[in-house]
């Protein structure tokens, strides 16, 4: 019964937020883009609203959070009651505060990692597609071999060797993910490189940098942007999984993955507090996925 109620409540909230966000976006958008927002599905507007909410939370964490990030404010495992609306964790830190700071830490680290993976992977991928020949062959064979090691397993191997700190975490995940970005950027660029306008630009005598900047990148932006969203989800889930396994972001930094781990014992008592950080992860990933899906759908629709 409670399950059913919460599902219904969730759906109601989803429609409410989704339609409100769509109406808001439609009103705020410049007239040229109005149709884009008028036709957007509820899932996408819901996703945009959620992403916006997380961004605000991350930026304003110290202002919004009632307590300090790792401040011990009371007894451990306090129930949900004022002034600790979501209770306390096993060290007696305010759960709500740590959730809010988690938005900043977990999402921030995942974003930085994705950005790094993206710059490295897409530059290499486009370059390989443009150069072709032996260089492309060797680089791609090597990346293929690396990709034959499952991402999480490879990350674990690298973390064992280099130890676990936030910096190595970012570098390791970025390196592993860059191989996936490379593969996509290369195939997108390969589709563009065979176009006659690239041949025309080459025959004109354009340099490599201009070819990438003016001829390839503008045409690769749409798929790459969608891929950025998808990659972010993967990275975010991977970092959360590693933190959950105790190998990612370390305490006392507030991080959603490790918060689940630290408080997991409560689950066996039927307390859903540990599910809150896990739900926070899920919600953001869902939101990003919804928006990406909408964009991909739009791109494929425009082609026809």
């Amino acid at each position: 019964m409670t399950v059913l109620l919460s599902v219904l409540g969730g759906l109601g909230l989803f429609f409410l937020i989704g339609s409100a966000a769509r109406a808001g976006l439609h009103a705020a958008a410049p007239s040229r883009h109005k149709p884009t927002f008028r036709d957007m599905p509820l899932t996408a507007s819901f996703g945009l609203a959620v992403i916006l909410f997380y961004v605000v939370l991350a930026c304003l964490a110290p202002v919004i959070a009632p307590y300090g990030e790792s401040e011990v404010v009371g007894a451990q495992y306090l129930p949900w009651a004022a002034p600790h609306y979501l209770g306390t964790d096993k060290l007696g830190r305010d759960m709500l505060t740590r959730l809010i700071y988690g938005a900043r830490n977990t999402v921030g680290i995942a974003f930085a990692t994705t950005a790094l993976a993206f710059v490295v992977g897409s530059v290499l991928g486009i370059w390989a597609a443009l150069m072709g020949g032996r260089l492309d062959q060797w680089l791609s064979r090597f990346v293929d071999a690396l990709m034959a090691i499952p991402a999480l397993i490879f990350s674990l191997l690298l973390l064992t060797i280099f130890g676990t700190s936030v910096m190595t975490l970012i570098l390791v995940i970025a390196a592993v993910d860059a191989t996936r970005v490379y593969r996509l950027a290369r195939s997108v660029a390969q589709g563009i490189v065979v176009m006659d306008y690239i041949e025309a630009a080459r025959l004109r005598g354009e340099g490599m940098w201009r070819l990438i900047r003016r001829e390839i990148l503008p045409n690769a932006m749409a798929p790459l942007a969608a891929e950025f969203g998808l990659r972010f989800c993967f990275v975010f889930l991977a970092i959360s999984a590693l933190s959950f396994l105790g190998l990612g972001i370390k305490p006392p930094t507030a991080d959603w993955g490790s918060m689940v781990r630290e408080n997991a014992t409560l689950i066996t008592f039927g307390d859903i507090t540990p599910l809150l950080p896990a739900g926070a992860i899920a919600l953001l990933t869902v939101a990003v996925n919804f928006v990406v899906d909408w964009q991909l759908h739009r791109a494929s629709g425009l082609k026809e």
């Binding site: 176009m195 006659d196 630009a201 025959l203 004109r204 045409n219 026809e304």
Partner: protein, 541 residues
Amino acid sequence: MEEPALLTIRGLRIEGRSGDEWHPIVKGMDLTLRRGEVLGLIGESGAGKSTLGLAAMGFARDGCRISGGTIDFDGIDLRSAPESRRRGLRGKRIAYVAQSAAASFNPAHKLIDQYCESPVVHGVMPRDRAEADAVELYRRMRLPNPEEIGFRYPHQVSGGQLQRAMTAMAMACRPDLIIFDEPTTALDVTTQIEVLAAIRDIVRQFGTAAIYITHDLAVVAQMADRIKVLLRGEEVEEAETRGMLAAPREEYTRSLWAVRSFARAERPPATGTPVVSVRDVTAGYGAVDVLTDVSFDIHAGRTVAVVGESGSGKSTTARVITGLLPPRKGEVLFNGKPLPSGFKARSRDELRQCQMIYQMADTALNPKLRLRELIGRPAEMYLGLKGKALETRIRDLLALIELEPGKFIDRLPGELSGGQKQRIGIARALAAEPQLIICDEVTSALDQIVQEGILKLLDRLQVELSLAYMFITHDLATVKAIADEVVVMQHGVVVERGRKAALFADPKEDYTKLLLSSVPEMDPDWLNRLLAERSGSGPQA
């Protein structure tokens, strides 16, 4: 005595969906077809020919819907009949032959299995009789090895043969009506003849009614008893084939006819050093030679048309000249001086002198750049123009290709029509102020009326700027229109070269003769005459 009508369409409306909106494709069409009659549907792309053809089977593609009118096939209302009833007719009494046989045969099954599917499923005949029948029809379609060819998979058979096998498959249940949807458009001219002849014979033998859809007037003239001209989903006119060819009523129909009449006279032979001279070039990919000992010259102010069917090596020749494919042997001279074989080794000025216009303007223009940059970039790069001077030059170029500068300069390619895009391709080539322009099938993706505009523009520019053109094409009508000299290629070898008038009047080589005679003419008796001639002069076709 008139046969009763087999198919009657009245006030047919069909809509297509883009996004959430429906827009009309066919706007209230009438059509009557009697038993045994062949109706030609002709029109440019977007005229609604294929949509109308499919509607004759009570079928609308995904994203399309029949929104009004009636379709009556031999007393059956195809719009109100249940889907199972329509399904029972399709393949049995109404059959379909698609444009691309290679894509329309299922790659997973043998030809004969696909042939037997309709007769067996529709209960017309058992499998063993269907197989025997298939062999008979393959023979009538003049397929090689009719006993054996059915046991091959589609990818093991050539395009022209597949198209005939598909026609045989359509005949399997001896339907009352066959829809031919551009069945020879994807084929080379010499192959097209065989397929056309086979299709026409079999339709006549069985007295099958047919709707023959094409954009090629000369083809429809051979195939159809009556012709219906379509434009943007509406009928322009309909008449008996001979009547319409002799005296088209409507302005639009006359303009379709007129395209073929554009032809400029051959210019006198040029003297002096040729702009480009291809000398004994042998080139290829990997270990395979695509070109063998190719030689020809192009002079300033003259057009050399390089003609051949697919795989003849005409585009490869262009790649050698532009330096994309360094030749194994031979060289390319520019104004008498040898060019470095790879384009990377060429100087900026050498690159500037030779420009290219592509077949598909869609892929030749970067969709994310505005016309200002598309046209301006060569001028900026090669001639060092900047600021005001560059702006003026871009506007001049736009005016030169007959596009209003103020309106177009900040547009993206996606905001242009096909013909306008091709004009931008021309402007980009002109911006470099070259001596030679290579035109690679520049008109073949365009509708006929647009083609004429492009050809006339190119011709005018040639006179004004004394340009040398290398014109790659498979279309001999285009050659007639614009060439001074013709180079005929086959399998990577120059078969024959010569002045246009002389070559057309008196071809020396067998292949040139075959190629020239294979081009359909408007005369409805052309195919009969040609077949008679060929069967008289030995086993040439």
